[in-house]
């Protein structure tokens, strides 16, 4: 042995380092691969179990549930986007730093960490029990709005705050009022970022189930030739019960399901949901990349 203790120590450190690097690669990528395989499995299973009637608007298909999902998320965005964007503007532009703003932030944080089943119960209590209504899409949309409100609010606030100060100063120095400055300069400048937040919120809305269990209900009866919006079977009536895709999967779990095609329906629904979520996330990423390219990192 002609290695000095110093050299020995370095050698040992290097061995440990390369060993740990291997361990990191194995452990670190394990879950990622697992998730990739899972996604591939879900989509593959949906494809294998596919039969043409799945696309129909009958009890054998998921057409109605698919429509309900889209319609419910649309309704929820109609509510949460104006509210969330306005609240974000308030936080970025109108509020003053202080206890009140801190409290508002804590409220938003609390909202965003509420279990969706708790939000669902709140919706059940306020939109169903207290109004005396039956399960309906609007109640579900309101519950989903509560869940997406924090995301839209914080995205809007961050987007406005990250704009260069010069935009606001430039507009104010031209004699624009604060609201003109916000509506004509600041909001257009950060619209793509807000849009990204809204798309992500929509993506989450598609998968929401627990909040809808006692609000939107677990049944759906639609008569596609009935366009009287006040009728409970009209597709566009927001005050009819409307089971969404994710609730449909819940309903198809073996215990309670009487549908002979239950597992095929659930598999296909799961695949559709995952594809929708993937598509929306990708869309959001594409928009984000576009913005950073276009503005050269300015915004």
């Amino acid at each position: 042995m002609h290695d000095s203790p110093m050299k020995k120590r370095i050698k040992k450190a290097k061995t440990v380092d390369s060993l740990m690097t291997k361990i990191f690669y194995i452990f670190g990528s394990f879950f990622l691969f697992f998730l990739l395989i899972l996604a591939a499995y879900i989509i593959g299973k949906g494809v294998i179990d596919f039969y043409p009637e799945l696309l129909t608007f009958t009890s054998k298909g998921i057409g109605n549930q698919f429509f309900n999902t889209i319609y419910l998320v649309f309704l929820s965005l109609v509510i949460s986007v104006p509210l969330g964007v306005a609240a974000g503007i308030y936080m970025a532009e109108y509020s003053k730093d202080g206890k009140f703003l801190t409290f508002l932030r804590i409220c938003i944080e609390s909202l965003s960490s509420l279990p969706s089943i708790v939000v669902g119960l709140f919706g059940y209590l306020v939109f169903i029990l207290m109004t005396g209504a039956k399960w309906n899409l609007m109640a579900g949309a309101l519950a989903v709005s509560i869940l997406s409100l924090p995301l839209i609010t914080t995205t809007t606030e961050d987007a406005i705050r990250s704009l260069p100060k010069g935009f606001k100063e430039g507009s104010m120095a031209l004699g624009a009022s604060q609201w003109r400055t916000i509506s004509k300069v600041l909001l257009p400048a950060c619209l793509p970022r807000i849009a990204t937040g809204i798309i992500l919120a929509a993506g989450r809305g598609f998968g929401e189930a627990a909040a809808l269990l006692y609000t939107a209900g677990q049944s759906t009866i639609i008569n596609w030739s009935n366009w009287d919006i006040t009728s409970p079977t009209c597709p566009l009536n927001p005050f009819r019960p409307g089971e969404t895709l994710s609730l449909h999967i819940w309903g198809m779990r073996t215990e309670g399901s009487l549908n002979p095609n239950a597992s095929a329906i659930a598999n296909f629904s799961a695949a559709v949901l995952v594809i929708m979520v993937l598509a929306f996330s990708l869309l959001a990423r594409v928009i984000t990349r576009r913005i950073s390219k276009k503005s050269g990192g300015l915004i």
Binding site: G166, E169, G170, M172, A173, L174, G175, A176, P188, A189
Partner: protein, 259 residues
């Protein structure tokens, strides 16, 4: 100074009397008295942190946007008190501002210039076209942008962006243009263009310019005010101030002994 006051009453645009400004407890401006005349360029010079930019911003109340600012004293624009008897928005339409960093909006060149007229309720396209063209020509940038009016203003060079910002200001037909170190972010050629432009514009406008560059002040301004530590040390015609400063501190500053 009372002299000037009496003699050229009608030519005075701004009269500032005993102006004090505080950021919280810190006094940033200390008893400023000054008059700014029509169709002249008034330069504000001094080392950084001396209060010159802060003073400039009081002239169109841009300080309102910052929290914890207290102002006392009077600023009169055409003998109307801007802090008491005038709406900040109305004031800023008459006294507009160009900033240190060019700050075009992320809109097209055309929409940038048309912004001011539009918020003032001008909707007719022919009228807007006319204002945009006139303003861009006045700002000496028309030839460079006339073929790309509907492309993003963010694609212009820094110097072009700054002239666009001046055009955007001109479209408002203000009475006074405030410039806060408008060339400090620009290259020498762009700087020259802006200086020429300022000299041209004073025929129709009153200009107040903050600059850290004494050569610039001596080249383009008619009057110069020297600020130090929140005080107005000396205010005189540019020729007098640079050739025969009456205060020792002014002399030390303009000969480059500090700052």
């Amino acid at each position: 100074m009372t002299d000037i006051h009496a003699k050229e009453q009608t030519n005075i645009k701004f009269t500032v009397e005993s102006l004090n400004l505080f950021y919280g407890d810190f006094q940033a401006l200390n008893d400023i008295n000054l008059t700014i005349e029509k169709n002249e360029i008034t330069a504000l010079i001094g080392p950084s942190g001396c209060g010159k930019s802060t003073f400039l911003k009081t002239l169109n109340r841009m300080n309102d946007l910052e929290p914890n600012v207290t102002i006392n004293g009077n600023i009169y624009l055409d003998s109307v008190d801007v802090n008491k008897d005038m709406d900040a928005i109305e004031l800023r339409k008459r006294v507009s501002m160009v900033f240190q960093q060019p700050n075009p909006f992320p809109k097209s060149v055309y929409d940038n210039v048309a912004y001011g007229p539009r918020i003032n309720g001008i909707r007719k396209k022919t009228q807007l076209d006319e204002i945009v063209e006139r303003s861009l020509k006045q700002a000496a940038i028309w030839d460079e942008v006339k073929d790309r009016l509907h492309k993003s203003a963010l694609g212009l060079s820094g110097g072009q962006q700054q002239r666009l910002c001046i055009a955007r200001t001109l479209a408002l037909e203000p009475e006074v243009i405030l410039m806060d170190e408008p060339t400090s972010a620009l290259d020498p050629i762009s700087t020259m263009k802006i200086e020429d432009l300022a000299s041209e514009l004073k025929k129709n406008y009153t200009i107040v310019i903050v600059t850290h560059n004494m050569q610039q002040a001596s080249r383009i301004s008619d009057k110069t005010a020297f600020f130090l530590l929140g005080n107005l040390v000396e205010f005189d015609t540019t020729i007098t101030l640079f050739s025969q400063p009456s205060d020792k501190r002014t002399e030390e500053y303009i000969t480059g002994r500090f700052g």
